[in-house]
Amino acid sequence: MDYSEIRSSFAKSKIGLVGLGMLACLIIASVVTITAIPADTYKQWNNPASWTEFPKSAQPGWVNWLAEKKIPEHKILDSPNTTLRQGETESIIVQRFGVDYTSDYFPGEFLLNFKSEYSGSPILQMSVIRPDGITLELMSSSLPYSEHRTDYFDKIFSTNDAIKKNLRLQSEHFSYPIQEHGAKEIIFAKTNKHETLKGKYEFVIEVSDVDTFDSKLVLGGKVFGLAGTDELRRDLAIGLLWGTPVALFIGIVVAFGSVVSGLVFGVYAGYKGGKTDESMMRFNDVIYALPALPFLIILSVTTSNSIFLMIGFLMIFGWVGVAKVSRSMALQIKTRQFVDAAKTMGQKDSKIIFRHIIPQIMPYALASIAISVPAAITTEAGLSFLGLGDPTYPTWGQILHDAKSHGAAARGLWWWIVPPGVMVAITGLAFVFIGNSLESTVNPKLRR
């Protein structure tokens, strides 16, 4: 059977094309991830310090499309509209953060994270303009006095006492007592009823007499991004996306490596025959009898948890089955006339194996590569799930490991458990579909 035949027969198989389509989507996702998402994000994956501005265990943003009452979205606003205003004696930097608030619930706490360079004692003022036109003064405080030019970082939380006090002084806007409510429940409330007021809010920060001023407004919420966040505040979308190229890499490299080595091993044994064959097959038996998962665990515990070592270990256990099958195929092929002819012509063994026998088995090898990808991916996911993964790269298995160790299943954090497993399954299915339809085209016995 030659390749054009295989191609045309594969093109007729619907399931194979579906698999190919899924694989194409995964590859596109990987390419987009690698090019569009800064590589720094995956290096920071296991660094809690880089996720402090994110919400804890927030559901994915799209749950609001399905829900009747909108859950507040967690917003990180880091590009304010900055203008310069000339005051009487000094210049004032004004930064405006616009927020379109549409939720039916009050938001979580908010915080202003700022960084400034100044000398002297500048004054920072914070106010909010509500959709109904009311302006609430939130804060007016001076930054600590400094004689020399200094760098200053600070955070202002919505739980700050000064904000609360200022709001109480403005209680005339509201027709009900606001004393018992927190700042977030006053700012975002209707004036006649304690309900959220939807619309465009604008937080205005004014600082006088500073050289530079840079701020970020984080408005707390319970949904975030495409995939939500986990207990450690990490954006799961980033973990899931980075997991794709890693999983594809592991799966394809392991499958390719183990099938090729199994193929060469088996064909050589079958072609040589006799004692070589016997001893090689006994070696094969030894590897076959090793309990694979325990050995993989022992190996990764005793050596290191580097992902490249793990790929090597997975290959060690992956080639055995292929070697057995390709040996029996080689046994059949070597009795054919063209092999005899090549031998009589005095060709070297290596040439006969690589030029005449292996090309005959190639279609089978291709199918086996596709079929062994899912096993490699699930095994890696399993090892990572047990906590033996390489912490330098986020993988789906590691996300699930963290989910398990934080009791996500029993606590109902479904967005932490479902997507990584679905990704593993989709990747596996893509290759299984391709492999199955390849196999049924190269192995006519299965076609009936």
């Binding site: 090793l290 047990l386 398990k404 029993a410 399954a425 016995k445 009936r448």
Partner: protein
Amino acid sequence: MGLKRYFAKRALVLFGVLMATLLLTVLLVGSNMDSILKKGIAIQVRAEIVENKELTAGFAGTDELNQYIDSQIEKRTKTLGLDEPWHSPNRIGLAMYKILILDFGHSAFLTSDSGSTSVGDIILEKLPRTILLFTTATVIISIIGILVGAAAGSKVGSKTDKITSSFAIISSSFPVWWIGLLMIFTFSFWYAIFPARATPIIPPTDPGYVASLLHHMTLPIITIVLIGFGTWAYLVRNFMAGIMQEDFIFVKKTIGIKQRKIIFGSALKNAAPPIVTILALSLSGSLGGAIITEAVFDWPGMGRLYFEAITLMDLPVIIGATYVLTVFFLVSIFVSDLLYGYLDPRIRTG
């Protein structure tokens, strides 16, 4: 008599494989084992000498005492043969001999529930639990798988066949342990029907223990069967599909023998040898439990034992468990070879 010789040779080969596996395990963990043993001796000697007040009082200073301790440690290391490097043939030979006669020694950290540190006791305690869950599940899987597979394989291309095949393909690409997590989420959190942990809280002496155990076991069993039977059904279907094309089946059909009788009487009988082989292998495989599935359901069987032993680097337990599982695996290969010879007359005649 060729058959007897064939099996004798096969048994010999499998024994060789067992030895090679054992050697590999010992080599892999040997260096760590060595340092653990030496540390153990040092701690033991120190504790003994410090407890012996009369002896410690006789020394002039700490230097002298330390010297004495060092010499004692060295002496004991020598008597145990640990002064040779761990990779010396003598020590590896001794270690392998001990394992071969099932003397696994004592564990470094883990104990059985009754407090025994003997590796043999620990394994004997965990093995029945694994058999209870995984072997039961394997039996259920194989029964469902054979029935569904036979039904699908007898009518290739029918709706049953298509549903079975696609279910098998799809279910095989989901990791069992992930489905386990989802099952816990659905049936322990969403609908609180089954407990999330698979082990009962009440002691085994309580009369309600069996009922409680069954209740706890339900969720893992459902999970394992759900993910497992598709693959089985698919394998059986493929064997059956081949056999249903054979001439003798057509003959039986034409002379009017009932479909059901053909499937379960003739076809399945012909497909039996490979099915029995797979059954033997998966039964022995089930004894190892499933490290990851047991971790998900908190089931205290062989898989969990393995994982705990590995994370604590409790090497005697690792070696013992590996050895026991490999023996079971090889025995089942051998038994399936025997059964193959018995079921398939072609092997007997030549």
